[in-house]
Subunit: 190 residues, 2 copies
DNA sequence: ACAACTATACCGTCCAGATGGTATAGTCAA
DNA sequence: TTGACTATACCATCTGGACGGTATAGTTGT
């Protein structure tokens, strides 16, 4: 006979089910019924794990944030501790995240979901504050460091929405350019 | 007796009604009924002007895009035709757009709407392609120019979602930094 | 000038379908 | 026994959209 899954296994499969739906069907189709079907459980079972849809979405944000931050930690560990190290890791982690084109849809849907689910938006805002704090402590001129963060976020934003994105070689060149610029303490232009 | 408004007057009041709702209530509350109420017409009247909700949303995107592009044209006219001129106008127009904090909500809702309304997304993608083309023709090294565009878009993205945004003085300083960098043909850092 | 007609700008009502959420009764392995 | 579910039924609410109807403005022929 089949064994019941543990609670945490089911939770993970629910998160992956949500992600699949967001990747291929979009936020509009992220209904409780659809998530339950995709995860191979019933709607009642889904609501056993998450009392409301908002709680589900918030947990989904935490799930993806953890993945990102774990990778970020790994990249920080590799990075030397020269000035701008965090910024370089942040840039690499952001770019990596978009290496699978299907993730563009996922993240675009996730950002769209923030508009509706205030708790998810709050979570993301707190995350950005944390990253920005580390960027400030990164040893670079704060304005210069923030400008570089915006360049990274802007690339990410373009990839996510597919807004006039660079081709692979140009993207690599721009990323290299950004990484190089993080080695300057301040704006090298005048 | 009261006169009927002209079609274009009503259309404009509908766009403003949509914008008000997006600014203060969010995309979730952008229903046909709510738009009709806000515009002071009936739901039937609204559907007279826009056959479907998708058509309404698409027209709303065109409306706001026209506002942005008109301002962009003005700023281009002011700008000298030295290299990077378009990029500077683009940066200024983007920043100006966010000077009213209530617009942050509006644009965040608009971007969220793109996830649902494919025609609006298509429109925005085409707009970005057009802007990117002008950036490419801006007389700067293409990779460098695109990097600067991403910096602008990243600032815009942060303001829109209120993600660890700079204070007013820091924002001004960063904008000045970006404008200064557009006067370099290529990455001035090494 | 005036009647006839057409086009425009709406209004008010109705509806099928979907959604999030609740409740309940039962299953099944450890 | 308990935790982890399934299955089903149900509800209140909301949504986009279709519809028939109406008042007014503008055009046209005579």
């Amino acid at each position: 006979m089949e064994q019941n899954r543990t609670s945490s296994q089911t939770r993970e499969s629910i998160f992956e089910a949500c992600s699949q739906i967001l990747r291929h069907e979009g936020l509009t189709n992220l209904t409780l019924q659809a998530v339950a079907n995709e995860a191979g459980i019933s709607k009642g079972g889904l609501l056993y794990h998450f009392e409301t849809k908002e709680a589900l979405v918030e947990a989904l944000f935490e799930y993806h944030n953890n993945i990102f931050e774990q990778r970020l930690e790994e990249l920080i560990a590799i990075e030397s501790d020269k000035p701008g190290a965090f910024l370089r890791a942040y840039a690499k982690a952001s770019v990596e995240q978009m290496s699978d084109p299907e993730n563009a849809n996922l993240y675009a849907s996730l950002f769209a979901a923030e508009e509706k689910y205030a708790s998810a938006h709050k979570l993301m805002r707190e995350k950005f504050v944390g990253w920005q704090r580390k960027i400030d402590q990164s040893g670079l001129n704060p304005n210069w460091a923030m400008l570089l963060r915006f360049a990274v976020d802007g690339l990410w934003f373009a990839e996510m929405h597919r807004y006039a994105t660079p081709g692979p070689e140009q993207r690599d060149a721009i990323v290299e350019m950004i990484l190089g610029l993080t080695q300057h303490f301040d704006n090298p232009g005048k």
